[in-house]
Amino acid sequence: MKTFDIIRRAGRSLGNAKVRTILTSLSIGVGAFTLTLAIAAGEGARQYANTLLTTNIDPQVLAIAKDPSFFQGGQTGPQEYDPNASLLQRAAGRTVVKQLTQADIDGIAARSDIESVSPSYTINAQYITRPGQKKYTADVTQYDAGVTQTVAGGALPALRTQIKDTEIALPEAYVNLLGFNSAADAIGKTVTIHLERNPSLTQEQIQTAVTQGAAALEQLAKPELKDAEYTIVAIVGKSATALSATSNVQVSDAQAKMLSEFSTIGTSSFQRYNIATASVKQGTDPATVKDALVKDKGYGVQTAKDLQGLLFTIVNVLQGIVFGFGILALITSVFGIINTQYISVLERTREIGLMKALGMRGRHVSRLFQFEAAWIGFLGGVIGSALAIGAGLLLNPWITSLLTLGDGNYLLIFQPIPIAILIIVLMIIAMIAGYLPARRAAKLDPIEALRTE
């Protein structure tokens, strides 16, 4: 018997038992429904993560650390002793993370494929305030020109452009704290950042001061103070597609360097940086620069794509969980198919006997029943994925508003090829499930099957 004729005959047999066929298909349809949604959610989440990254992060940006273990949570086993590592780092009981020095930064900046590099400065600001207001603590960082930020008031320069040295960007929380009426009201006003530095004293200085008396000693121990004034250029707000709703007060790169060096001068942290961001020249693939830096210098480097990979890992894990439930539903439906097909073989003993008496080969009888199972898998897949698509299209706007994904972003994205693959896989699973009943049909003795009494 020709395969095409067997497939046709299989479809016709199912058509003769419509209710049973549809019920069995529905059981596999539940699995198909769950799996389709899992695939769609995974795809949607990946696209969303991608949107987040591409709208927020300059793809040319590299994050560079001295030590590759920096990006791996520092867990690379014991490191060689480094007398230059700060006590604090060693005391933390963790692996010592080596830091970038100014020479490293200069070396990176000197590369022809790098446009600019800026280390991440540690700034120990005491407080932020403005005349007539209370003092508030503040985490001061340099303005990151490689990330888009949503502004609630004022304006920030375009991607890859720094703010001016006299300017400062504040998070929304400070609007009320510093006594502004609104975000718009704050723009153009002046704030002060206060820093203190304990003097690093030589033995000689202390001895001289001791001989000069208590007043001199007190004078000597007095911290050096610095008040830097900035004009508010923007209030940074929260956004659905902003990667990091920053709570940092941001100043320009040069100001950050100045403030950082003020408080670290004379200490082991002076011009030492955990991480630096470099901007690769347009037209150069960041990945090749990354490879060169890793190979030549042994730095740890992450590109924007690496960050994407990190986000995707999280998405994949979540998708895997939903997938697991779909697989469970499928396993259940496999037993449903086996059961249905066994009943079908019993019901159609005569038909099988007749076909075998007329010279149909056992293999072809077996194939007939396996194709029937495949049809059930196909129907289940189509029903399940169609329901999933329908439900997804209905629920998408609701999910978007519930998770505040932002307009135009959908969590469930249906693509034809993964769904087609899913249906084919379901057909194969159904065929495997139909194997035992099909074999029973193939082994049926036509004489027994055709006995009239």
């Binding site: 018997m1 020709k2 007749l354 008496a357 007329l358 010279g359 004489i447």
Partner: protein, 227 residues
Amino acid sequence: MIEVRNVTKTYGKKSGAFVALDDVSFTIPDGASVAIVGKSGSGKSTLMHAMSGLDRPEKGEILVDGIDILKLKQKAVDTFRSQKIGFIFQAFFVQANETSFENVALPLEIGKYSASARKKRVLAALRVVGLSDKEKQKARNLSGGQKQRLAIARAIVNNPRIIFADEPTGNLDTATGATVEKLLFGLNKQGGSTLVIVTHDEELAAKCDIKIYIKDGKVEKIQKGKK
């Protein structure tokens, strides 16, 4: 020509063994109409199964056109049945939920005929049995006589060398039974295929060229020529 030589078929093991066929031998010439007559349990059905390659007796030879079908492999036996044998059963065994066309097309599908060749042959066979107008009807809507005529169309559609009919009129009333008999013997005379009827009905057997009487698995007597 069909030659049956010393065929013995036993069911069951030693102590409970039951000899269904005991050293059966006879010869049937091409184109003959043959009745295998016997009571139920006499072994006549087993004989038909053996001659059609459905059953395999452990001893003897069954030569069809010079080939011993008992020595063929399963695949070759299936091909032999599909090409050379037509079956008609007492209970018709037509597929109730399929149309007349689909019922008759089954042997041709098994025989790997193309769709166009199938259509031609099925329509011809339906014409022969007078069911041309029922082509698209489901078999469940046919009367008993029509069902058996449909079964005859299915048996002749692939132009077999031998047609086995197991009590073909057993489930029919006298009038329709007569129509079916007429059809069977008419086809036998015109088509040149051998007709083997298994029956316990002496009246039907009397219409055949050769009558082989089976009793307790043995050939009791063979009568040639019509009364």
